[in-house]
Symmetry: C2
Subunit: 166 residues, 2 copies
């Protein structure tokens, strides 16, 4: 609960390293997400290559923090594994949110960089990373050492809650 | 991290009650999710009325567990609040996943009941609950007392992970 309430979008990272086990741990959390029919219609590209990270910043205009990230995970939708049509975006979003929460709970920093449905971002990443036709580049989670502090922000808004009916 | 790894879809509930603070706590967690441009383009209908819960099971064929649920939260997308076109589904999915994790972390049971993009489910809920035009019924999270035990399931799949490129 603490992790849910304190996760924030962190865009400034400093130099450092991450434990060997971190990527496996956060991907395990991502794959623990629910998916329609438990189809787990997601795939992941883990990018640690410095040149590739830097090149992504040319494709995705809001991803400049990747220059300082240690790694990044591109979550992709696997349309060939989707059983209930139209649900893959929700499945990948749940995996992405788990991924962000796991990175935060482990003491590292991340932010949701949206890719889908922006065509130029999808096309650019597909080409750069060699992603096949039936797979859709969905969102990027950088993994960084936090270099800014953001406290808990209470976004609870009573007016967004309706009781029994609208 | 423990909550991320142990959350499962629980569909069997027993009688009991929930603390007064629970709904507010889990909605606070839901609203702590990231959203595109921090637009928080979500709305929530909290349903505790027994007749309404039962009537939802007639609209949504996979929602029979609502007969035994104490409450349910319908997450909705607020298209009027969406700033970056096409991202509201991801925003609502992140809020929904936070909601499920918070219910689980609080010792209660839930499951992701997909609504959007199934037209008959959206239409039925819109009519039953009086949801306005610019708001889209997205997904339902029941809140129940767990009446089945499901252990941790390791869904980590090495073959879904690609390094630096596909």
């Amino acid at each position: 609960m603490e992790a849910l309430l304190t996760r924030r979008s962190i865009r400034k990272y400093k130099q450092g390293d991450i434990p060997d086990s971190l990527i496996k741990d956060v991907l395990t959390a991502a794959m623990s997400a629910p998916s329609a029919g438990n189809q787990q219609d997601w795939q992941f590209v883990v990018i640690r290559d410095r040149q590739t990270l830097n090149r992504i910043t040319e494709i995705h205009k809001s991803s400049q923090m990747l220059n300082d990230a240690i790694a990044a995970v591109l979550v992709c939708g696997d349309l060939a594994a989707e059983r209930y049509r139209g649900f893959w975006v929700q499945d990948c979003s749940a995996a992405m949110e788990n991924l962000l929460l796991a990175i935060h709970a482990s003491g590292f920093a991340s932010v949701w960089l949206g890719v889908y449905p922006r065509q130029e971002r999808m096309d650019g990443l597909r080409k750069l990373l060699g992603i096949p036709e039936q797979v859709v580049p969905f969102a990027i989670a950088p993994v960084g050492i936090p270099n800014e502090k953001k406290g808990r922000e209470n976004r609870y808004t009573e007016s967004k809650i309706h009781h029994d009916r609208w």
